[in-house]
């Protein structure tokens, strides 16, 4: 066990902001994922046919909803992975690398999803 606590030196606002946003996106996701499940599986059984998917993707209200879902889920997922990495000694030694890598992952996942939303 090391007597030196290297985790004491850090960007102080990054961690609280990440934590608060993780909770907020968690709440948003609980609502939106439930809705997502409802409208793909329960409202009507042809929801997953090609025309219906395109129809939904062309609707502005759906675009906004999916955009929000996408943003929340990318952040929540990769911030969660970041927390898992930082829980280990590897993460404490390579904090900056982990933070940058997972931040890029959020950006990539979000823009990749947006490509789909803007194609229709």
């Amino acid at each position: 066990m090391s007597n030196e606590l290297n985790g004491l030196r850090t960007k102080r606002v990054l961690e609280p902001a990440g934590w608060v946003l993780q909770l907020i996106t968690g709440l948003v996701l609980a609502v939106l994922v439930t809705f997502h499940f409802f409208e793909t599986h329960m409202i009507h059984h042809s929801a997953m046919e090609y025309e219906n998917v395109i129809l939904r993707l062309s609707d502005v209200r759906y675009k906004i909803m999916y955009g929000l879902l996408l943003l929340s889920v990318s952040f929540h997922a990769f911030n969660g992975v970041r927390a898992i990495f930082l829980d280990t000694n590897y993460g404490s030694e390579n904090r900056r690398f982990v933070n940058i890598l997972l931040f890029l992952a959020v950006i990539v996942a979000f823009t990749y999803g947006l490509l789909l939303l803007f194609s229709f």
Binding site: W19, L23, L29, H41, M42, Y50, A77, I84, D87, A109
Partner: protein, 124 residues
């Protein structure tokens, strides 16, 4: 491999087990998210590719994976709401009843969602 201790249940209470499961389901859901996003690209490529994908995945053989995925999702969601409540400093004294409630709710929602997916895949 010290992180394997996160998943060691021997001598631990249900609280620790729900923490381990939360982490495990979280990882499963991240993997699924990546798959889901890449899968959706097929919509952009064209109708044939998309229909090829849905015709293989929306089948009774795939239902078991879907049901397990929904279990992971429902558990992560319900347990996550419990954690958010506690992390805002609320309901700490009720943590044991809330934990049981969380498992009960997971079971109920999972069975309901599984039934709905069964109907959907079977086209009833």
């Amino acid at each position: 491999m010290r992180w394997l201790k996160w998943f060691e249940f021997r001598g631990k209470s249900l609280f620790h087990i729900s923490y381990s499961l939360h982490r495990l389901t979280g990882i499963v859901l991240v993997i699924y998210l990546v798959m889901h996003l890449s899968y959706l690209t097929s919509i952009r490529i064209g109708r044939e590719v998309y229909e090829y994908f849905t015709s293989t995945t929306l089948t009774p053989a795939f239902l078991i994976f879907d049901i397990l995925l929904v279990l992971a999702g429902v558990y992560h969601g319900v347990n996550g709401l419990r954690l958010i409540l506690h992390e805002f400093g609320l309901g700490y004294e009720l943590r044991r009843p809330l934990l049981y409630l969380c498992y009960l709710l997971t079971l109920v929602l999972w069975l309901y969602a599984s039934y709905q997916m069964y109907l959907f895949v079977m086209g009833v």
